[in-house]
Amino acid sequence: MDTQLLIPGVIFGLSIGSIFFLMAIGLSLCFGLMRIISLDQLLYYSIGAYITYSLTLTTGDVWLGILGGCGVAGVAALAVERLIFRRIYERELTFSMITSFGILIGGIGVIKYFWGVVPRPVPIPMMTQLDIAGTEVPVYRLIVIAIAGLVYGGIWLFLNRTIIGKAIRAGIENVEHVEGLGINVARLFTITFVIAGALSGLAGGLHAPLIMVEPSMGLEVLAFVFMVVIIGGLGSIKGTLVSAFIVGQVVSLGSLIYAPLAQMAPFAIMLLILLIKPTGLYGSALLKR
């Protein structure tokens, strides 16, 4: 394969991987700390994208739109956590999966009510192209990759250098001991859930200019995001990063080799990894509470 195709392919894979990473990190944190599978993260992704669309239309600035999308998604996550998840943390895993799926479907209905079913375009904020080794590469995709890198750095610092982050990491190990130390676990859960929701909203906002914004966009990426979380291992941030970029590259380079492969190959890889190591690449055998 010549470099003219390869370089844009790799960049495309990295940017799509970045978006998967931003969404998967929320799922991963929620699973690690609260032991819930929160399918409604895909709703915050759609909300982020739609708010980006609406704010871009009114203010004309896509970056402001993305920021707004991130914020609104965080607020929506806060409301859902307070109203619904608060009551179901104690329940088993499948329970949270089904309930959050109901939230996702209901939320898609709300989005259809406000914005209709017609796909909406969002303009790309930076049309400039950058020259890498004789190939034109869109700058916007590079910025998406950089933002994902910054978020990874930020999350790492947050988890390792702040007291709340350290409490979250301790909670992933053993939540009863954290509670015994006098830390307000309920607030810890809320903070984690809102961070997860806001990151999903950010992913939606960043993805919006690259695709069409439509009500069922969350369902389109559902399978891919879950694949990222599973390949990486539920509850591991580093694993999520690694697997997001594996999946991104497989989707992107797979489509260069043989188009139908792009959608199927990641799933085949996931099956393979799960059969060899049932807990994912970096996942430990976490016990159900």
Partner: protein, 328 residues
């Protein structure tokens, strides 16, 4: 004799109600409900009795549907043989993936099944497009020959056939409930360590349950194929993956008649609400959340104890009560 009547009367009552609904509801609606309830039965069995939630039931539905479609499109004309081949292909697919999947934990199991459904979707839509005709699907409505006695290529005879098949499926699952195997399934859901101590293998109980449930799903797929007369990759689209899970919960997880009630309510609501407000996801989504928060019993799960009290005039015995408790 009395025991036999007691065993059958609930089934016969439920199905005579279903037959009666034929008189005043449109035929396509009732056909859809019967097939959908068979489809849901597999999912309900997996979720309610074995504790496995599967977001990938369309994969097995497609295995059955495409097994039937390939036979009717390329080889033969007899729809009965087609359905048989659909069931066999469902058996084959679940027999191949089963040993790999049932070792996984419940949450991974749900997502691996979803992955299988997506793989099937792209396999049928793109990779095997030469054989499956891609998105256009296989049309064989006119190729099916009429069969003697019960001509299932006509909708009204098809209903009689689907009705008898559903009755057989329900009798089979009711028998499973009473058998030792049914008890083992419940035990592997509730406490797998204790089941091991009793000398049963968790793995083989789960594998058998997986194969039975997904062969039922494949049967529903084969019936869809014969009823509609065509099969397209749409049948295994990931968008439809949650349908059986929603119906299972709506009807009442793990209850015998839950899938029937759920399929009825779901198909009915889909029809009525999409006509009235055209935005039915909103309704079904929040209904699902509400049912889960209100105790996840579903429609039949809430009604059943009350009906039993009403008819038998006494409190339900503790053993049966515990069983129903565990099945939720």
């Amino acid at each position: 004799m009395m025991n036999a009547i007691r065993w059958w009367w609930g089934l016969l009552l439920a199905f005579s109600l279903l037959a009666a609904s034929w008189a005043f509801l449109p035929l396509p609606f009732v056909n859809e409900v019967v097939i959908f309830s068979i489809y849901t039965m597999g999912c309900s069995f997996l979720l309610g009795r074995v504790g496995f939630i599967s977001f990938g039931q369309p994969a097995y539905l497609a295995a059955g549907a495409y097994g039937t479609a390939f036979y009717l499109f390329y080889f033969g004309t007899d729809p009965y043989v087609g359905i048989l081949i659909g069931i066999l292909s469902g058996l084959a697919v679940s027999g191949i993936v089963g040993p790999l999947f049932v070792r996984l934990r419940s949450d991974y199991f749900a997502l691996v099944n979803l992955a299988l459904a997506v793989i099937f979707y792209y396999l049928m839509q793109k990779v095997l497009a030469d054989i499956t005709k891609g998105d256009n699907g296989l049309w064989f409505l006119t190729r099916m020959s009429s069969t003697p006695v019960l001509d299932i290529s006509t909708p009204s005879h098809f209903f009689v056939f689907a009705f008898l098949v559903a009755l057989a499926v329900w009798a089979f699952y009711k028998y499973l409930d009473d058998s030792i195997f049914g008890a083992c399934c419940l035990a592997t859901k509730i406490n797998e360590d204790k089941l091991e101590f009793l000398g049963y293998s968790n793995y083989s109980v789960r594998l058998l349950a997986f194969i039975i449930a997904n062969t039922t799903t494949a049967l529903a797929g084969a019936m869809y194929a014969v009823y509609l007369g065509f099969v397209s990759p749409e049948i295994t689209s990931p968008h439809r993956a949650p349908d059986p899970v929603v119906v299972t919960i709506l009807g009442g997880t793990g209850t015998l008649y839950g899938p029937l009630v759920g399929a009825f309510a779901y198909t009915g609501m889909k029809d009525v609400i999409s006509k009235l407000i055209g935005n039915w996801e909103l309704f079904i989504g929040f209904l699902l959340v509400f049912i889960m928060l209100a105790g996840e019993k579903g429609i039949w799960g809430t009604l059943q104890p009350r009906l039993e009290k009403l008819f038998s005039g006494r409190k339900v015995g503790t053993v049966a009560g515990d069983g129903a408790e565990a099945r939720r």
